[in-house]
């Protein structure tokens, strides 16, 4: 493991962008881990929510982008409800997703691969949510 520079210069603007888009102050987080402890979708996550926030605090945005966590987040707001520091982690996850999918071609859910994922009983509420979360 090579030594990491705490806030690498070239990553500063992305971090500020995420903070500004999410409207949350990640410096407030005291790494208590309550979000990760209660996250129902944490089984499928390689980086737990509090680790995502920690990496943001250290400016390690690349490791977050490579992780599966931000796509496993179901935006169920359990973390936001219980965070003792009043941080809305769901907002931060959304902001990270948006910085990725707002670059051209990065959408995770293309329109034409929807039919393969859909069955007749799935309510369109699921598909619309999917597009809102994974496609820009």
């Amino acid at each position: 493991m090579t030594r990491v520079k705490v806030i690498p210069e070239n990553k500063k603007n992305i971090i500020d962008k995420i903070i500004e888009m999410s409207g949350e102050n990640i410096r407030d987080c005291m790494q208590c881990g309550k979000c990760s402890a209660g996250c129902p979708a944490s089984d499928g996550m390689d980086l737990l929510p509090h680790q995502v926030i920690r990496l943001l605090q250290l400016g390690q945005i690349d490791r977050i982008v490579e992780s599966k966590s931000i796509w496993n987040c179901a935006s169920c707001f359990t973390c936001a409800q219980r965070c003792p520091r009043n941080i809305d982690i769901a907002n931060i996850m959304e902001a990270i997703r948006l910085t990725i999918i707002r670059c051209v071609g990065n959408s995770r859910l293309k329109a034409d691969d929807v039919p393969s994922k859909v069955d007749c009983k799935m309510p369109q509420q699921a598909i619309v949510s999917g597009f809102r979360k994974y496609n820009k």
């Binding site: 999410s22 129902p40 499928g44 496993n72 009983k121």
Partner: protein, 264 residues
């Protein structure tokens, strides 16, 4: 009691969740409540746009809110997702000045909308406007000793600062509703855990894990039926197959209501 409300159905209720709406409207009639479907409503977007710079995705909710407010009526929603989105958008219009300014500039409504309309869910209407006691009196066929567990999911309860629906960790509104219908509500710890929501598209394994926990917990506490207010939760719970395994049926709470009022 002639209570008139603007009613926002949401697109899923017109297609995949028709009986959620059908039973709701029939029950409302017998309860003497006029649910007037809005003339022009558009899709609420299913998820509340969390980013601070998202404006366009909130316009459809504002149109419905403004129309309801113009008619001087409260806006009643039925689907949990629509309630979540519209209520949070309404909160933005009330408190976030720059969003309010930009939306009003863009929409050019007859008069600016500032979050005055009150958004209530069908269950809140039953609890606060009609009252569970008077609902109980109207019940024709009490659902004697049916063990029903409420499944709240996420969108009605959280974040409680905005939704103000019930105690997010220890809700009782659906249990009281079940009691009012004569059935016996069962409290099981996983009733407020997430069902996986839109992960149903891409991460079916994660959804499966989540729904499994929910059913295990429910069956351990002797739940025979689960009622919910969100079409996506109902889909995720049904598709997982654990319902049949633990022979727990899933239905919309309105179905229960209609049955108890004898209009099913």
């Amino acid at each position: 009691m002639n209570m008139k409300y603007s009613y926002y159905p949401g697109c899923t209720l017109k297609t995949k969740a028709q009986d959620l709406e059908k039973f709701a409207l029939d029950s409302a009639k017998t309860l003497g409540v006029a649910l007037q479907e809005q003339k022009e409503w558009q899709c609420c977007g299913a998820v509340y746009p969390l980013a601070t710079d998202e404006i366009a995705t909130k316009l459809s909710s504002v149109r419905s809110l403004a129309e309801a407010y113009q008619k001087g009526e409260k806006l009643v929603t039925l689907c949990a997702a629509c309630h979540h989105v519209i209520k949070r958008v309404n909160e933005d219009m009330k408190h976030k000045e720059d969003i309010r300014k930009k939306v009003n500039n863009y929409l050019q409504l007859p008069n600016d909308y500032e979050g005055e309309c009150e958004v209530i869910h069908y269950l809140e209407m039953l609890r606060d406007e009609i009252g569970f006691e008077s609902l109980a009196q109207k019940v024709k066929k009490p659902l004697k000793n049916r063990k029903i567990g409420a499944y709240y999911g996420c969108l009605l309860l959280r974040p409680s600062k905005v939704m103000k629906f019930d105690d997010p960790e220890n809700p009782s509104i659906i249990e009281d509703f079940i009691k009012a219908l004569g059935a016996t509500p069962i409290i099981y710890p996983y009733r407020t855990e997430c069902c996986g929501g839109y992960l149903a598209i891409d991460q079916k394994d994660v959804v499966e894990k989540m729904t499994q926990n929910i059913f295990e917990s429910a069956s351990k506490y002797g739940v025979e039926e689960i009622v919910t207010a969100c079409p996506l939760c109902k889909y995720n719970l049904e598709i997982s197959g654990f319902g049949d395994e633990n022979n727990i049926s899933i239905s919309y709470f309105t179905e229960l209501l209609a049955e108890a009022l004898g209009v099913k």
